[in-house]
Structures are given as C-alpha cells and as structure tokens.
C-alpha cells in the first residue's frame, strides 16, 4: 500500500513538472509561429538612376505582434524579370519593439551592367527576392523569412 501511494505521489510530481514544461513550451511555440506569420515587410523606396550606379532602397520591417523581435540580417537579390543582375546585404542587428518598425536603408549593387543597359527601356521589371533573418524568441535560433517584391516603374 505504501509503495502504491509513493508511486502515485511520484507520478504526480513528474506530471506537474513535465506538464508545466509541456504547456509553456507549446504556448511559446504557438507565439513564435504567430510572430513569424505576422511580421510585415515592405520596400518603401527604390531609386534607380543608371545601370552603372547602385540602387538606393529602404526596407521596412514592422512588428505588429505582442513581443519584441530582433532583425539580424536582410539579403536582397535583384532581378530584371527572371535574370539575376545584382543584390545587397544589410545587417541591422536591431530590436524592433512591439508595434514599431525598423527602416533599413540598403544599397543594391548591379553586377550585370550590360544586361540592364540593354534592357533599359524606362520600364524595367524589377523583382527583388530576399530573406530576412529574425529572432522571434530569445531561446530559439533565428529564422529566415523569405519574400519577393516586384517594382514596376510608374
């Protein structure tokens, strides 16, 4: 009878401790996925002057979630149509507080100048494929979020 009672008590202790782990981990897992899903990304400026000059852009990451996020790195690949012509990288390593945004100026270098010059009829079909490295929870590894932006000159 004593063995039976001690076993139930030990099982109860294990269930409480491991149950707390189960609930807390699952809750934070849901929050991390929710944060990943709700981060808003926008290309606010895109200034193309000439094929042999860098393109000045501003990339904005908004945080509409209920917890601060850290933006570690942004990679942008520059395409004209489907042809890769250049790109750029920024490493802001900045924390974006709840409800705020981070504007990161990025200079994109054009590698394939000849191709851009040949295609430059004033209405280049710019496409930016990139990814942003964000830390959405201090205890888990940063996560890359891929995105695509299309910029058509007016």
């Amino acid at each position: 009878m004593i063995v039976q009672r001690v076993s139930v008590v030990l099982l109860a202790v294990l269930a409480v401790a491991l149950g707390i782990n189960l609930l807390s981990a699952s809750g934070r897992f849901v929050t991390a996925h929710d944060t990943y899903d709700r981060i808003e990304l926008e290309l606010t400026t895109f200034q193309y002057v000439a094929a042999d000059a860098p393109i000045e852009t501003t990339f904005v990451a908004r945080n509409p979630t209920s917890r601060a996020i850290e933006v570690i790195e942004i990679e942008l690949g520059l395409n004209v149509g489907v042809h890769r012509v250049g790109g750029g990288v920024a490493r802001p390593r900045a924390v974006v507080p709840v409800g705020e945004e981070l504007a990161t100026p990025m200079r994109l270098v054009i590698y394939d100048i000849d191709y851009v010059q040949r295609r430059d009829d004033g209405a280049l079909d710019w496409r930016l494929r990139g990814r942003i490295l964000v830390r959405i929870d201090p205890d888990i590894d940063p996560e890359w979020i891929p995105f695509t932006v299309r910029h058509l000159p007016e």
């Binding site: 491991l18 707390i20 782990n21 189960l22 981990a25 205890d139």
Partner: protein, 138 residues
C-alpha cells in the same frame, strides 16, 4: 464509495498523471520544444524517464492486466498530447497548417512507440522484481 470504484478512480488518476508526464517528457526532450521549456531536461533522459513512468504506473495500479491496459491508454493519450503540442500553432495559422499537422502526426506516432515500448520495459522490470521478491505473487 466501494473498493472497486476506488480502484477505478485510482486507475483513472494514474492514467491521467502518466499521460501528462509522458507527453511532457517527450516535449521536454524534442528539438522543436526543448529550448522553450521552463525546466531543461537533457534528451538522454527520455528513455530512462519513460521506463520510470511505466514502472511507477505499474506499481501504482498493482495489477498486471490492468496496468497493461492502462499503458495502452497512456501511450495513445500521451502521444496525442505530445503531437498536439507540436501541431498547436496550426490551429491559428493558415500558412504552416499542413506542415505542422504533418510534423505533429509524425512526432505523435514516434511518441506512441516510445511511450508504449519503454513504458512496457518499466512494467516488465517491475513484474520481474515482484516475481523475484514475492514468488507467490507471480
């Protein structure tokens, strides 16, 4: 409350406790959730932990056939809880719904095997010791 009803109640309590403990142990040692837990549990503890839960469950129920049936229920309930903990974000998000449900199902099946097999190991260990200590109770 009669003695039989008390035994049923005890078994129900033990099944609930063992299911939560087994699911919590699986969650505490899996790569997806380990970093997010309150108490850190090293992954190496999953096997001895499940054996211990199986043994404690057997000792608490103190009946070979009932504890075997309880282990089956604990395996299914624990694996379901574990799989749901991983698939939980899919209930709120559309983007990762399919991949998370798939992942939760895979981990749930793995949990079912782990809880069932290593719980059985703990159970057999208790039966063996019990037989050696009290041969008449075989």
């Amino acid at each position: 409350m009669t003695g039989r009803q008390r035994q049923w109640l005890l078994e129900a309590v033990v099944i609930v406790l063992a299911s939560v403990a087994a699911a919590g142990l699986c969650a505490s040692t899996t790569s997806d959730l380990q970093a997010l837990t309150v108490f850190h549990v090293n992954s190496a503890w999953i096997i001895p932990g499940l054996v211990l839960i199986g043994a404690l469950m057997t000792l608490a129920i103190n009946d070979a056939m009932r504890s075997a049936a309880a282990l089956m229920i604990v395996s299914v309930a624990g694996a379901t809880l574990f799989g749901m903990a991983i698939a939980a974000p899919a209930l709120r998000l559309d983007g990762t719904r399919v991949s998370l449900i798939d992942r939760g199902t895979t981990y749930g099946l793995l949990g079912l095997l782990l809880i069932g097999l290593f719980g059985l190991l703990g159970m057999v260990a208790v039966w063996t010791v019990n037989t050696l200590v009290r041969p008449g109770n075989m």
